[in-house]
Subunit: 562 residues, 2 copies
């Protein structure tokens, strides 16, 4: 079939070679998509690919531990099997997966318990582990071997994936009864490499323990070296709580969609039941604002226009902030202890931020700690975490990095951020982390989020400034005192000679020292008082400056006790 | 149902709250995935979201134009419809889409003609346009309106998407006969913003025209301002050619997979027919290396082990490099002309690289141009393109940026890259661009690719160094000549007076000038000869230094004429 171009702009009516590309039209499975674009799952580069696999399996174990309320014990072993080939074994004690879901959880992309729930977890897409099993399969041709102990039933089987259909392939399944409660995955990996670098498995696990002090991790490296990361805290973190979406973050589209799949028979009940922080009083306020909408109608009557009006009205009211108890920050004490262990810094300052929400009704919270003055570890470290998971890659594209980099550090006496011994720890905690890609290593540059992270950093930076001011101040006082005292001995000798009382020399010296100490004390008191006044003035100014910096996107919430 | 923790490490046998998360196990459509993670498609931030939409529709039009061999005329109009709401219309003259595929092409993710073919196109995932239609729908509740003229049949209809099923929803379809050959899409957009910034629609189109001088684009901005970008070249680019994967980039997994879906009855024919650059002589060489494998067996007999042995043997042989004529670089002349138009620099240098392949048998080619010395436009610009598509976002995560940033610019007399008037243009041309995410704005940090891009940059940087050396050199000579000549007038006067021949003053002066010019000429000749020798020595050294830098991953290809 030839095709003539009819457009008179083309090569003067020449015959154009036929390419009827539509004969090639096809549909593809999501597994095919991620197989071809495996770099989107974090499989780019041999070192990163291996870290990605450890990261996915470890995160799943930690999530499972929290769900069932167990202190996780995770065992990871890597054995070399050839050029860029390794065998990985990951085992946990975190409750296992029942037979019914085992195949889909590990051999099907976009299947799982996490994607659709408003609950804070490390995994959130139902892609991670299955993606690793797929990577194992396409680089070695072998399925993974799995042992799952769930409620005293132990399943052992091989799990692979039918890529073109995105379905699990289970073979050699056996079922026994036994004590093991947890999951063990063994997989062969090609095109990966173990390396002891800042992007390698060891660094990943070290940072994981930092953010998960309740976990115990044992790691056996390919050279058979055994690393034990014992737990630092013996308390199981509170299990994550599933929440409803906060009304302020809901879009008209969400409202229409939700209205089609719920059980309530009236719009009023729908609003009160399905969304967080919608009391019956609030529903009444909305009704008053929207007399044209009949709230006693079934929710299915909501069309786009009504939904849009409703959302507009929602944004004119004040709402209680999202509940704090659904988010699971690491906690100031745990963060401080962890930083102390790793960096042993002279000074640690931390933010103390309350939860916020971003679009989609999604609550989140930011934990920031700044460590100053250490000789261990590299300088200028930005340690990024999302729901306690270390983010080692894609720093350049990450909103957390962006927030740190755009701070005017000079305002906090950090005159040379790149070269001073300062580390910034940021943990982003949310029921949904807006990653830039399925590889989950960078948080999207969302304005609201960056603004909040910057606020948290500035909050933590202020005490650092105070500390650095203090160091300078103490140095000044100490040198002044030295100047005074340098002459005391000489003067005491001269005076005792002049008065012809050599035996009194020590007494004179003591008198002079006391005098100097008294005088210097008075000077320092005056200075302190002055500083205090200046500090108060600064605090007032600081609040203003701060307010200017925070300008964008902050929502006002009502006080909790409505 | 309560569950008791059996692990004795947990809170001393306390009852743990039950969360049987497995009751929540669900499967999801890829549309649901990208709806929830729309930032992965480039929908993060209002300005970027609008640019993403223009980018997706424009890229599709340019691809269609190349497929059918038409000089594209693209019309884009934006109209404001409310707060952060716009209507977009995009129309092209590029052949349209037949009725059978219209819905799936625009209302279903991962469906299309591009995903599975080895052909260089801007789109490659079958996600872009459908993702935009989905974004339009979830932010405004409205379907898109489409007019497609394909072979004299004009279809008009509304297209939406059923997100939970990832299927198109077509309504109000009409069919008429007519002259229109192309596609018009009109969509309502919410949560987007038009801005005249470096990330906005105008900048995107400007750079698109730079890399697509054969396209004519007309843009009407929301303020009704009309921008016309006329075409600079009247030649339709050669249509893209579909190719077979190059054997060197094939993995064992590919081999097994391909062997299951082809028609050849013997392994020998399978290898020769399905892969690029596999001659019957090469098949014989492979057979000699692998006497244990029977090449007359059907390809379906290939198992993983055989496939792995085959691939190992493939890597011990030399192969002809991939065909150059399947890639469509912009071309040195077009790039130079475009840079001249936009920046009007003093000097342009370009690389001249032959195609390479990276894993997956994927041919690619890198075009680099460096422009030096301009006052138009910003300094220190890194202009990134992939298959002629401008990449405006995610610069920090992009391999192209990484390559530019890791060049030792000082070696090329660029002592201060950040502040000198230098722009680096990089176009990455391939049948498959390894983007970091479905948003297609950054190329993965693949070692082989970065090494090749760096080589291309260094190649273009050498003439820049020569140019800068020349400037410095000319400045030095010019100032030396001035020093000599400064005294000539005075000396000529003095000499004519001394000799008492005032009328001869001008003659003496001329004689002196000639003398100086002659002497200076001799000095400069000597310098040039010395420089030439030094240059040759440098070239030898340079090649060595270069070889050290290039170390990783370069394949040796046979000469073309096997």
């Amino acid at each position: 079939m030839y095709r003539y171009a009819t457009n008179n702009n083309n090569n003067k009516g020449e015959i154009v070679m036929p390419i009827d590309s539509f004969s090639q039209f096809k549909e593809h499975s999501v597994a095919e998509f991620f197989k071809k674009n495996k770099q989107m799952l974090g499989f780019s580069g041999k070192v990163r690919s291996l870290t990605t696999i450890v990261h996915e399996f470890t995160s799943n174990s930690l999530d499972a531990g929290e769900e069932v309320g167990i202190l996780p014990e995770i065992f990871i072993q890597l054995e070399e099997e050839g050029d860029d080939k390794y065998k990985i074994a990951v085992q946990d004690n975190c409750g296992g997966i029942p037979e019914k879901y085992l195949g889909k959880a590990l051999g099907q992309l976009l299947a799982g318990t996490k994607f659709h729930r408003y609950v804070q977890q490390r995994g959130q897409q139902g892609i991670g582990a299955s993606g690793c099993i797929m990577y194992s399969q396409i680089t070695t041709g072998k399925p993974a071997w799995v042992r799952s102990g769930y409620k005293n039933v132990i399943i052992e089987c091989n799990i692979g994936i039918n890529v073109s259909k995105n379905t699990p392939v289970i073979t050699n399944l056996t079922k026994t009864m036994g004590e093991f409660s947890g999951l063990r995955i063994e997989a062969h990996l090609g095109d990966v490499r173990y390396e002891n670098s800042g992007y390698g498995v060891y660094e990943y696990l070290k940072q994981t323990v930092l953010a998960n002090p309740h976990a115990q991790i044992e790691f056996i490296a390919p050279d058979a070296q055994r690393y034990m990361f014992p737990r630092a805290v013996d308390v199981v973190p509170k299990p994550p709580i599933e929440t409803k979406p906060h009304i302020l973050g809901i879009t008209a589209n969400d409202l229409v969609e939700f209205s089609r799949r719920i059980k309530e028979s009236r719009i009023s009940a729908f609003l009160a039941e399905e969304f967080s922080r919608v009391s019956s009083n609030k529903v009444k306020e909305l009704q008053e604002l929207l007399p044209d909408i009949d709230f006693s109608q079934p929710p299915t009557s909501l069309n786009w226009d009504t939904a849009e009006k409703l959302i507009k009205a929602v944004h004119t009211l004040k709402w209680i902030a999202p509940a704090t108890d659904i988010l699971r920050p690491i906690g100031k004490e745990n963060v401080a202890r962890a930083l102390q262990n790793i960096l042993n810094p002279q000074f640690i300052a931390q933010s103390d931020r309350s939860p916020q929400i971003f679009h989609g009704g999604i609550p989140y919270q930011v934990e920031v700690a700044i460590a100053y003055g250490f000789t261990n570890g590299a300088h200028n470290r930005i340690m990024r975490f999302a729901n306690r998971v270390p983010l080692l890659f894609d720093a350049g594209a990450c909103g957390l990095t962006e927030a740190v980099k755009t701070i005017e550090w000079k305002r906090y006496r950090i005159d040379d951020f790149e070269n001073m011994p300062i580390a910034v720890f940021v943990n982003f905690v949310s029921v949904h982390v807006p990653y830039t890609s399925a590889g989950k290593q960078a948080i999207a540059l969302e304005e609201e989020i960056i603004a909040e992270v910057r606020n948290a950093i500035m909050e933590a930076a202020r005490p650092v400034k105070g500390y650095l001011n203090g160091i300078v101040h103490l140095q000044e006082r100490s040198s002044r005192r030295k100047v005074f005292l340098r002459y005391v001995a000489q003067l005491a000798g001269d005076m005792s000679e002049l008065a012809d009382m050599p035996k009194k020399k020590e007494a004179i010296k003591k008198g002079l020292v006391d005098l100097v100490e008294h005088r210097v004390g008075l000077i320092e008191e005056a200075e302190d008082a002055e500083a205090e006044t200046a500090k108060e003035a600064n605090a007032a100014n600081g609040a203003v400056a701060n307010g200017q910096e925070n300008g964008n996107g902050k929502k006002d919430f009502e006080e909790k006790g409505e």
